[in-house]
């Protein structure tokens, strides 16, 4: 228990994120069903987002909103880094966009050939 308690919170998030990346990769590499591969991608993507968020954490920091709770004078020492948060926001939207396109491609593939198995889509090769 103390191990977890002593571990910095951001490291836990970081590790979880990296683990999620690995799990997602596993899914993308081993699941033959395209929808499952897309799920794998989403996991990887989410993992990356978690890593990003964790990087922005500053020990003991709070949300980077400068109002009554965090006066301007103390801002620099009390808030977490706003940049990774901003980045992750963007990254999430982009991930969403990619996922949406991926799904539509998968749908079209299913329409066209009645299968979602990636290893049945190998006619162009060499």
């Amino acid at each position: 228990m103390s191990l977890i308690a002593d571990t910095p919170i951001s490291l836990i998030v970081l590790c979880s994120g990296l683990a999620l990346v690995l799990i997602g990769l596993w899914g993308m590499l081993t699941q033959r069903n395209m929808i499952r591969m897309i799920v794998g991608f989403s996991l990887t993507d989410t993992g990356v987002h978690m890593v990003m968020v964790s990087i922005g954490y500053v020990t003991g920091g709070t949300a980077p909103i400068i109002n009554d709770a965090v006066p301007i004078a103390e801002a620099a020492s009390r808030v977490v880094d706003p940049v990774p948060s901003a980045l992750v926001l963007t990254a999430i939207v982009i991930g969403l966009g990619v996922t949406a396109v991926m799904l539509s491609v998968a749908i079209r593939i299913y329409k066209a050939r009645r299968t979602l198995m990636i290893d049945e889509c190998t006619e162009s090769k060499w």
């Binding site: 990769l25 990887t44 940049v83 990619v98 396109v101 998968a106 593939i109 060499w126």
Partner: protein
């Protein structure tokens, strides 16, 4: 405000974004309002993007400051900024032009859906963004914008194959961008900034395992996007299946953006330059090897594209390593523009022609404009002059040479050669007229974007030449003349012939008028001689599309070659000569296949020369031909250059291209090839021998080896000629053999040796010119090339027979004609040098030569005439006219060789002191003497006396002229000439005795090389199994390998 809107926004690089986004967002609305207006907005925006890039780039080239665009009114690194400098401007402009032209090509598909229009627009903007942004995360966004737009456009066609390829593409690039994101965030973790300049200036903060892994994440991701071997199957599948419009944009646009991103981030990658170079180099070489196995047009373009990106990356990294930042614009820029326009053009062409298998491209065989475009694009991709790739490769190889990076030179040249192999094989398929295939139909305007791309390539190549302090008018004159003649190619043959002769005469005179010494000598031979032989082309009056322009290019580039004062000009004209002669060979009916071998060997030869020049440049830092002599490693330079020239002359072992090319080329052009074009190799050899060969520190070895190569060429050329049934192949092998003597003569590095070599060169020009022109006449009349199908033609073509006989006596070395002098001087020079074994072989090979010479005369002109040949006429007079001139020259030189020897000696004197001693009319050497006029007189005398006696006797005799078949034939009278004309397998017994010497070992060897490289290609491509997961796995492995290779797990 409105004015400010234009000056501050729209005309600034920022305007590109505003225009693309604004138009992109509004396109759906316009589309709903009016379909046409959407297209107008779309094309207008693209054109605007081109214009903005062009205006700003123009300003920067004219000295304006680099444009830094700050957003949000806050200085970087706290806000994102964009930069538009020289490099950015160049890339953006090039990409936008390609995009605009691509849109033109792609419009029929795009205009069906408004969303396709906007996706295309935003895709282009994304590439612009990737180039201009100076923020790492912003770069990620632009990569994603580009990617998503690409995904959607790939999927637009919605057939199963395209979608499957698209899905693989998405999976692969998503993994890559996930890596990029991870790398970016960890770099941010260490540096605390996202501005690229800021990161670079705080580069030291990137440290430790995190720094390494983060950098490698970013690096691998970018490399993956550039599709390195073997993690690139996903890219290939898309190239193969997607619409040519989007495939071209991926190949040139998206890759350009990613490449530029890599360029921007390269300062961070200092530690990994070696890895990148290895990856890029391997990609370039291996893609081109695999390309050999590929027959799918667009997939083949994919391999080429991937290879080119590998080359670009390699060049960038190597220049970076060599600290040659100043040359990046020329080398990388040149290669980049070259690839961009040529590859895009090819993809569009593939879309227009719409034949999957390159073997089916014969459908455009009757569409000269498409063929020309295809050829231009291929030539550009290979880096042939005058295209930008030529200048870039030149500069790259020179730089590599001066850094002693010969391994990389080898790789670059080998890869280019492989690429040439598959591209021009494709061209061969397209040239091949196949009546069964339906002709390709496309509208006049459809190839317009390709044509514009080709024009741009030429223009840029021309512009690059202008920056290099060269004799540009001379270099481009052949092309100009060729272009001019091409414009009038529709006129009647006679007009074209006249125009060609005038153009070559005027141009050749202008190019060579100021030459002196050896160059002047060769100018007589190549230009005046070439002109003489081209007179014979008048014997044909059919259309011959492209023949006359190309012939003008060939002859004028030979003239320009002689005029070259720098290695670059020399190489330029050399390549031009190679290309034009290749194309001329393809004009013949069966010439397409041999032409390919000709081209490949010629390119191989050119690359040896290239490497030799690079080695020379490395040593002297000068590209002047006159400085060639100052190199510090003459042995290496000499060997490389000599190898190049010897290949071009069809040296022993690398001769296999020669007989086929000579045999299958048009008959009058074969005369040109053998009599004139082959002399270019001799010229080169003489030049380097004069500059390098005579240096005392070269050591005997390279020259001695050359001497052996020469004599083996002579021996085996003669031996192989003995066993030919095809008259043109026979003379082709003979030509190879005769050139062998010349090589040996040059290799002697003595005054006498060179005089003999030059003398033999002139002689070779004369008798090979006569022989091939005679053959042209024979083939014209009989329509046969197999000698056993002829016979007895002396009755029909007595003049041709006499000319041939004189040429053959002049070739054989039998006194009193010219050949003897050459053999005599060569033999004396060999003895003086102490090369006894070579001398013995020279003896042997000239004896063997008698076999084929006799066979030629016997089986064609003598023996029994075929019945169907009874009514043949003499060869046309116009073919005989040049021969008469050459016969006269042979006779004059035979009787009075001083006529020729004095100028030859004078040309050599600057290099080696004269050793010719004249005693009256007799030439004296250490060993012997040769009094040509006396010999001529004696032989004339001893020939005339019996002749007169016999004539007198004849007066007293009743001489009965007998009919054919009236021979002593075991009391029988044969009736069929086929039975009595002893011609087929004439030297069967000789074959039984020593035929084992001439089994086609060289051919077998080169076939094995081809076989082996194809096998290699197919084993290298097993990774592309078509499974998206395997591709993704390779990407993972790629990253893992990069980390392991760079010690990422070390700590």
């Amino acid at each position: 405000m409105v004015a400010a809107f234009f000056t501050d926004v729209m005309l600034q690089p920022l305007g590109i974004y505003v225009l693309a986004l604004g138009a992109g967002f509004l396109v759906p609305l316009f589309d709903r309002a009016h379909r046409g207006s959407a297209m107008l907005v779309f094309m207008g925006s693209l054109a605007g993007m081109v214009a903005i890039a062009a205006l700003n780039l123009y300003a920067i080239i004219n000295g304006a400051a680099v444009i830094d665009i700050e957003t949000a009114g806050i200085a970087p690194p706290f806000a994102i900024n964009l930069r538009f400098g020289l490099f950015e401007g160049g890339v953006v402009l090039a990409v936008n032009i390609a995009a605009l032209l691509g849109a033109w090509h792609y419009l029929p598909s795009l205009k069906q859906h408004a969303s396709a229009l906007l996706l295309y627009l935003i895709l282009v903007m994304g590439i612009n963004g990737m180039v201009m942004t100076r923020d790492l995360f912003n770069l990620f966004i632009f990569i994603e914008i580009t990617s998503i737009a690409t995904y959607a456009l790939i999927g637009m066609e919605r057939t199963g194959t395209v979608l499957a390829a698209g899905f693989k593409y998405i999976i692969a690039t998503s993994v890559a961008t996930a890596f990029f994101l991870l790398g970016t965030i960890f770099i941010y973790y260490q540096v605390g900034t996202l501005n690229i300049d800021d990161i670079i200036s705080h580069g030291a903060l990137i440290h430790g395992p995190i720094g390494l892994i983060a950098t490698l994440f970013v690096l691998t991701s970018l490399l993956i996007e550039l599709k390195p071997y073997p993690a690139n199957g996903w890219g290939l599948d898309v190239y193969e299946t997607a619409n040519s419009g989007i495939a071209s944009l991926i190949s040139v646009g998206v890759s350009a953006g990613v490449f530029f991103a890599l360029f921007k981030l390269l300062p961070l990658m200092d530690a990994y330059l070696d890895s990148i170079a290895v990856v890029a180099g391997a990609t370039f070489l291996l893609s081109n090897i695999i390309g050999l196995k590929q027959h799918n047009a667009k997939r083949l373009l994919g391999y080429s594209s991937i290879g080119q990106m590998g080359l670009l990356t390699l060049a960038l990294v190597l220049l970076e390593q060599l600290d040659a930042g100043a040359q990046i614009a020329l080398v990388v820029g040149g290669l980049f523009v070259n690839h961009l326009l040529a590859k895009a053009g090819l993809f569009w062409l593939a879309g227009i022609v719409d034949r999957t298998n390159i073997k089916d491209w014969a459908s455009i065989a009757r569409r000269p404009e498409l063929l020309i475009l295809l050829g231009l694009m291929f030539a550009a991709l290979i880096g042939l002059p005058p295209f930008p790739g030529f200048w870039a490769k030149w500069e790259l190889v020179m730089l590599l040479g001066s850094a002693d990076q010969y391994g990389w030179i080898l790789l670059v040249l080998l890869g280019s050669l492989l690429e040439a192999a598959y591209l021009f094989r494709w061209f061969s398929h397209a040239r091949k007229r196949d009546d069964e295939l339906t002709e390709h139909v496309c509208s006049f305007w459809q190839p317009a974007p390709v044509a514009i791309a080709a024009a741009l390539l030429v223009a840029i190549g021309f512009g690059m030449a202008g920056t290099m302090d060269l004799d540009v008018p001379a270099m481009f004159l052949p092309l100009l003349a060729g272009f001019g003649l091409w414009l009038i190619d529709g006129l009647p043959a006679r007009v074209k012939q006249l125009a060609m002769l005038l153009a070559v005469a005027a141009g050749g005179y202008w190019l060579t008028q100021e030459l002196t010494g050896i160059n002047q000598l060769f100018s007589y031979l190549l230009v005046a001689g070439g002109l003489l032989i081209s007179i014979a082309t008048i014997y044909r009056n059919d259309v011959r599309n492209g023949f006359y322009p190309l012939l003008a290019v060939l002859l004028l580039s030979l003239a320009a070659l002689l005029r070259a004062s720098t290695t670059l000009e020399f190489f330029f004209s050399w390549e031009l000569m190679t290309l034009s002669s290749y194309l001329l060979i393809t004009l013949a009916r069966a010439g397409i296949k041999p032409a390919l071998a000709y081209l490949l060997f010629s390119l191989g030869s050119a690359y040896f020369i290239f490497a030799g020049f690079a080695a020379a440049f490395a040593s002297t830092g000068s590209i002047l031909l006159a400085d060639l002599g100052n190199v510090s490693s003459p042995g290496l330079v000499f060997s490389l250059l000599a190898a190049g020239f010897v290949i071009k002359m069809g040296g022993f072992g690398v001769h296999i291209w020669l007989p086929d090319a000579y045999a299958e080329a048009d008959d009058d052009f074969t005369a040109m090839l053998s009599a004139v074009v082959s002399k270019a190799g001799i010229f080169g050899l003489v030049i380097i021998a004069a500059q390098l060969g005579i240096r005392s520190d070269i050591g005997l070895d390279p020259a001695y080896v050359l001497g052996w190569i020469g004599i083996l060429t002579a021996t085996f050329g003669a031996l192989m000629a003995v066993f030919q049934e095809d008259i043109k192949r026979l003379v082709a092998y003979s030509s190879m053999g005769q050139l062998g003597y010349i090589v040996t003569g040059v290799a002697l590095m003595s005054h006498l040796g060179w005089v003999s070599a030059l003398y033999l060169t002139v002689n070779h020009f004369l008798f090979k010119g006569i022989l091939f022109l005679s053959i042209a006449g024979i083939v014209l009349r009989t329509n046969e090339r197999l000698m056993y199908k002829m016979g007895g033609l002396i009755k029909n073509m007595p003049v041709t027979f006499v000319f041939t006989m004189i040429a053959i006596i002049a070739m054989s070395g039998v006194p009193p004609l010219t050949g003897f002098g050459g053999k005599w001087m060569l033999f004396n020079a060999l003895m003086e040098k102490g090369w006894y074994w070579i001398a013995a072989l020279a003896f042997f090979s000239s004896a063997v030569a008698f076999l084929y010479m006799f066979r030629l005369l016997q089986t064609v002109f003598l023996g029994q005439r075929k019945l169907e040949h009874a009514k043949l006429r003499e060869a046309p007079a116009i073919l005989l006219v040049p021969q008469v001139v050459m016969i006269a020259a042979i006779m004059a030189i035979s009787a009075y060789p001083k006529l020729l020897l004095d100028p030859l000696s004078a040309a050599i004197n600057p290099w080696i002191a004269n050793t010719l001693v004249w005693d009256g009319f007799a030439l004296q050497t250490h060993y012997g003497y040769w009094n040509a006029p006396l010999i001529m007189a004696i032989v004339g005398g001893v020939w005339m006396v019996p002749l007169i006696i016999l004539l007198l006797v004849s007066l007293t005799m009743k001489i009965q002229k007998v009919e054919q078949f009236n021979i002593v034939y075991a009391a029988e009278r044969p009736h069929r000439p086929e039975d009595t004309h002893f011609a087929y397998n004439f030297f069967a017994h000789y074959d039984r005795a020593i035929g084992f010497l001439v089994r086609p070992r060289a051919t077998a060897f080169w076939n094995a090389v081809i076989e082996w490289s194809h096998t290699l290609g197919s084993s290298l491509r097993v990774f592309y199994n078509g499974n998206g997961q395997t591709y993704a796995l390779f990407i993972l492995m790629y990253f893992v390998a990069m980390v392991l290779f760079n010690g990422g797990l070390g700590s």
